[in-house]
């Protein structure tokens, strides 16, 4: 049996509702997007770990769109508690109210029928 590559492994996890993150056993850094080597130290000894689910907004933009085409929406970069960053969207608040430094929880949601990592502000 052929071993599934990192890209497919991540996407298969998403379909099951899991967000898994690669970590380099050589230098200890976490890695996103999923890949065949560590971009920090070039090591190839990588392991998968379930994501902590915590992060904060590193930067953000509200993309303006006409209401009849769905209205404004958020696009942002999340810095994960593990250190890696990923693009995502913060749901649950107005797109322009997403601010840098906002603490968020990650979850597996859906965009256009496909599983995707989304965020919501940490409650309380």
């Amino acid at each position: 049996m052929t071993e599934t590559g990192p890209d497919a492994t991540f996407r298969d996890g998403l379909k099951r509702g899991e967000i898994n993150l690669q970590k380099c056993r050589s230098c200890g850094q976490s890695i996103f997007f999923p890949r065949a080597l560590c971009p920090h130290c070039h090591g190839t000894d990588l392991e998968w770990q379930p994501i902590s689910g915590r992060g904060e907004v590193y930067t953000t933009t509200a993309v303006r769109r006409k209401p009849e085409r769905g209205g404004d929406y958020n696009v942002c970069m999340i810095e994960l508690a593990e250190g890696a960053r990923m693009m995502s969207r913060v749901d649950g608040i107005a797109p322009e109210q997403v601010t840098i430094g906002l603490a968020v929880d990650l979850f597996v949601g859906e965009i256009d029928g496909r599983a995707a990592v989304l965020c919501k502000p940490v409650e309380g």
């Binding site: 996103f32 997007f33 590193y58 930067t59 953000t60 933009t61 509200a62 993309v63 303006r64 929406y73 696009v75 942002c76 970069m77 960053r85 990923m86 693009m87 995502s88 969207r89 322009e96 840098i100 430094g101 965009i111 256009d112 496909r114 995707a116």
Partner: protein, 383 residues
């Protein structure tokens, strides 16, 4: 030790074509008009060209398409695609090829009809798979997120971003080649339609048609042409990422490295530069590149551009033709940064010609702040 490529090659011809709107014409027709204009400027013909450097928005084998179209069979071709910076990068590869004797006359050329044919930015590249689901508006949302981070870390304001657009317009107004020449104030920029916060329409480059071309030869024969040669003193390329989500620090570009190496090769420093032509796809670009190229400290770019410092009459002339924000932006701007830098040195800029320009810096940006390429050009007195 002087770098072996310093001063070895020179621009002896330059040309433009189809700037603004060129309805009913293809990209290759516009490219050809530019190439013929540059060759005429150099007193040469297509039969003299044996090195061809070309990247087009619609084709990955652009140099082959261009050679076929022009009816030439060059000894050396290069279609390296680093986005809009490609044409500044070709100064390096053309200098290498000329210096190594792989070719004797290098033609760098570009053309696009994207304003009249598409009405929007045309790009052959796909949105990266780990970004695509979130629908960033490409490329503006990438630059918007860099601007937002710069504002957060350094207190840069929308007013300061607006000042970049206002300065570009002031340079464009007397330039007959510029597409947008009406009055533009800070208030106009702030009141314009928001596209991807914090960038509004007037923070964005134009979408125009247009083409440009350059002819280069080895310096030892650069004096044998009708126009004064513009010498290549220092060139360097660097890159930090391809997709914006992989940019290590959204407030620091690879221009820090490309600039340092270009200055080292040229043997000059920022204080020596008479005029800067920076790739201003968005207003934040100019601020980032002024910082990263060493014209002000990191984080001080916003304050630096206030008060008309980079506008006509200001202390530091930047984007003297109006740039991508007000002159032209046919998909990729890189070649126009070099053309304006060379014209300022030659003394035949179409808009405001500065006095006594000996050293000019052209800076190309490609992708989403991904590729950064710096070139330092000089008059004969600087070699």
């Amino acid at each position: 030790m002087v770098h072996e490529l310093r001063g070895k090659t020179a621009i002896v011809g330059l040309g433009i074509g189809g700037l603004g709107e060129a309805p009913g014409r293809t990209s290759y027709e516009i490219m050809t008009e530019s190439a013929l204009a540059a060759l005429k400027d150099a007193g040469l013909g297509l039969g003299d060209v044996d090195g061809l450097f070309c990247a087009m928005m619609e084709d990955s084998m652009s140099a082959l398409m261009a050679a076929e179209y022009l009816g030439i069979r060059p000894r050396h071709v290069d279609s390296t695609m680093t986005g809009g910076s490609s044409f500044v990068h070709y100064l390096t590869t053309a200098a290498m090829a000329l210096d190594a004797g792989l070719c004797d006359v290098a033609l760098i050329c570009y053309g696009s009809n994207q304003r009249t044919a598409a009405g929007k930015l045309v790009t052959a590249s796909r949105i990266p798979p780990y970004e695509e689901p979130y629908q960033p508006r490409y490329p503006i949302s990438a630059y918007a997120m860099a601007a937002a981070r710069h504002m957060h870390e350094y207190g840069t304001t929308r007013e300061q971003l607006a000042d970049v657009a206002v300065a570009a317009r002031a340079w464009a107004q007397p330039n007959p080649e510029a597409f947008e020449r009406g009055d533009l104030t800070r208030e106009d920029v702030l009141a314009s339609r928001m596209v991807s916060d914090p960038l509004s329409v007037r923070d964005c480059c134009l979408v125009t048609d247009g083409g440009g071309a350059l002819v280069l030869v080895r310096a030892d024969r650069a004096g044998d042409f009708p126009n004064a040669p513009v010498h290549l003193l220092g060139m360097a390329t660097d890159s930090t990422h391809r997709q914006i989500s992989q940019m290590p620090d959204f407030t620091v570009t690879a221009a820090r490295e490309s600039g340092k190496r270009a200055f080292d090769m040229a043997g000059v420093s920022p204080a020596d530069i008479d005029v800067l032509e920076l790739y201003d796809a968005f207003t934040i670009n100019t601020i980032l590149f002024l910082e990263d190229l060493g014209f002000c400290k990191k984080g001080e770019g916003g304050a630096f551009v206030e008060g008309g410092r980079i506008a006509p009459g200001g202390a530091l002339p930047v984007n003297t033709y109006g740039g991508g924000l007000s002159c032209t932006h046919p998909g990729m701007l890189g070649i126009f940064t070099v053309i304006e830098a060379a014209r300022q040195i030659r003394g035949d800029a179409p808009g405001i010609q500065l006095d006594g320009v000996e050293l000019a810096l052209a800076h190309g940006n490609g992708g989403v702040l991904s590729s950064q390429v710096t070139a330092i050009l000089g008059a004969a007195s600087t070699v």
